[in-house]
Symmetry: C3
Subunit: 345 residues, 3 copies
């Protein structure tokens, strides 16, 4: 099921240079692309690889074109064009419609006839599954939940009562949307559970990774904006708000009531403390901790790179003795001042 | 289904000041509370918000009462009272009883007639589900497991063979209790699996978050004390012991055989190394690493706050050169001593 | 179902010293072992404990034997022998064969007659379940998946389409193998999803922990080598490669296209950045960050130990002012040079 290059150019709105009759059947990284593979170059440094491998066609920007002399599809943004081409070459399987015989759908649930509820899925009372939505095998859709048009719960996804997912979302296996927030009142030594009565409200075009957890709000709702992308094993606590088109990599933890702006990017394992605000267009590098509000766009980090353990341990010990170091420096400065009569600072 | 203020005061054992006929129908944060909402103030600084919003009633301590002139329910601990009030305003749904037709319950399992086993749940041989327990949709209860009275496995919870949960626990979707500990013996380059034959034994009034994992003991049991609260995506390794009323936030990892005391609090993403002890009443701030035993109660940290990346990188480079810095300081001290004849330290 | 010591020695290939008629019925840590328990000593320091407890028999190396005078099974590697003995004392339950009536197996799937598909499991079209494999309750096996001989999906495991697991693997509940990698092309403010068309290919004798996630490759495959052991709640991103016999502890996050060598060990919560290489025989201590390639075998760390919070905060503040400190030092050096006429460095 390949696509001839002329047709591919047309569908992508690309300018074609070279042999328009080549049939493209696969995708490959530039360094491994064969004569029927489509590849792309977003970074000029990969053009070197192309001197060795020879793709069937290359998605390339006008700027980089002079550096390549094979078949080229010329586009403004080769990475985006590659994403679209991949969708053409590997079209998603057609969605079935209806309810599988082994699913359990409450009689009070509303499932659009064009939607699908797969094997061993559960849909509770008053849930609403909209047109062309896909509820995969083993999914759980709680009471009063709304699943938007074309949204796809891949398999074994949990959406607990009252939560709302917009249109065109994808949620991967093991994700849990709407578990209770971690809210307790301290009563002496004991913790008294505070009922969590908010919801999770998710916009459109959101993707949520495997085994990610998003807690419902305590009183108000937890809010995930349109176009947000969340990777695997991310924890989103109660009453967090995430702005549009923000991307969150794997293993991130976001504490309660944090408000994250639009178009932010959080690297893997980042921690975000509770009750703070991150403005729009902030990037936080992997493993860093956001411990107070960030009010200026930009890139932030507190990540420390591993080193050979002996070297690291010596520095870690010195880190704990920085106070000593500073004090010794202060004394020296004082002595020098006594000698020279002038302030060294 | 609101509650008149007079009745609410009575049920909470609160002293009422103001209009006893107001009907309370919802909960709200102080800054957003409307005329039928109940709110609370645990922190005096929020009283400012109340000059703008006007709750139907406010749970407040006698100490803070003079700062507020609206309808007040006066209690010693407003946060705890709020937790109770939320339970009154949003009572949990009545639990069904019996076994859903689509559940698979082994003939050798014992399910109390007052308990519920939901759709597509599996209960294996010799498992015991006690009175008023709730086994939600898609849960798995292994052989010989015991689920205590009133304990609620919300949905799609796994409790593997031989594990024990006490009374009044709540476990959220995706939690796995009783998977094998990560135990191997090294045989040259290969790892030989060491069978894990202990259990997980969980006390009463414990809450376990979504996608949290608690491994069974290698030989002895993994032990979770009464009143422990564990958030989402927490890893508890084999033979860990967690003391009563300790609270553990999201994304924490606790390595094998760590022993954590009572009334401790571990912040989000904290790491606890294996084979160490943390005494009672220890708080560890988020993202910190407990790498050796802690013998004194108190607050501990090794968290580092993210900064603009250029600034951070300069400091991170210097951190790796602390040895140089210390050596340069030592030389200066020596020179000064030669000049002055006296020791600067 | 105990084993007499003479028989145990024979099966383990151990030399027996002491009472060969003792019946061993259990396992215990050295310090708690009773007269019918088998224990082992891999570390000489535990021999002290044995002066108090008295195991039914002790697995011990020839070197340590003189320090112990009870019943002994003498072996080269007591820990490995203990692993084997545990398997003899607690043999795995016999696997059932066939397909449970409540499972959903597509008519186009191939299930070997000696394999087992448990209650409420789903096996999709063209999946192949090989001889003696075990698909536990609630598992999901996608289209074209291959599950190797004797491999055991314990319960509620997801293996999505096209992925391959070798022989003798074990996968714990909640693990998700083959969800889409986190791949997007940036188009202005929006993220455009890049279809992920690679697979996850897993070797033989691999163990994968609860709620661990392994994403499929973007174009090429994600590769997990023979003998790899992965703990709970680990994230393995698209196109990662993990070499043979590498062990990865809980809560580790590995970013896309990282290549990890053979016989490596990653401690708990370690982060590995994307597009880098770690050579063979590298150990990374818990919570450290691998931010660039590691080309030399050895032990690496960037972990920082928690301290009392007041002490820590002072040092953290100084860490942010290391630039000042260095600048002050530089000035002093200059002044000294002016005084002494010689360079202090």
């Amino acid at each position: 099921m390949g696509i001839v290059l002329a047709e591919l150019a047309k569908q992508l709105g690309a300018q074609l240079r070279g042999d328009s009759s080549v049939e493209i059947t696969g995708l490959a990284a530039p360094e491994r692309a064969g004569p029927q593979d489509l590849s792309f170059v977003a970074n000029r440094k990969y053009l070197k690889a192309l001197n060795i491998a020879r793709p069937g066609a290359l998605l390339i920007s006008p700027r980089d074109l002079p550096h390549f002399d094979g078949n080229a599809l010329i586009v403004a943004n080769p990475h985006v064009a590659f994403a679209h081409a991949a969708g053409l070459l590997f079209p998603p399987a057609t969605r079935p419609q209806g309810v599988h015989a082994s699913a359990f759908v409450d009689t009070m649930a509303k499932v659009d006839p064009s939607a699908w509820v797969g094997p061993l899925a559960v849909v509770e009372a008053n849930a609403r599954i909209e047109a062309d939505a896909y509820i995969g095998p083993g999914c759980y859709v709680g009471e009063n939940v709304r699943i938007g048009k074309r949204t796809r719960l891949v398999e074994r996804v949990s959406v607990l009562q009252d939560c709302i997912l917009g249109e065109d979302c994808i949620v991967w296996p093991g994700a849990v949307i709407g578990s209770d927030g971690f809210g307790y009142a301290r009563d002496g030594a004991r913790w008294v559970k505070v009922p969590q009565v908010g919801r999770v409200v998710i916009g459109r075009d959101v993707e949520i990774g495997s085994n990610t957890t998003i807690d419902r709000g305590a009183i108000d709702d937890t809010l995930i904006g349109d176009g947000v992308k969340i990777d695997n094993l991310v924890q989103v606590a109660h009453n967090v708000q995430i702005g549009e088109n923000t991307a969150i990599a794997g293993c991130v933890g976001i504490a309660g009531s944090a408000v994250i702006g639009k178009r932010c990017a959080l690297g893997g394992q980042v921690g975000v403390a509770g009750h703070l605000q991150i403005t729009d267009d902030v990037t936080v590098l992997g493993t860093s901790l956001v411990a107070s509000s960030i009010t200026e766009p930009g890139v932030y980090s507190s990540s420390i790179k591993a080193e050979p353990v002996d070297l690291w341990r010596r520095n870690a010990v010195r880190l704990r003795k920085l106070g000593d170091l500073a004090e010794r420096l202060r004394r020296l400065e004082k002595q020098i001042k006594e000698i020279t009569g002038e302030d060294s600072r």
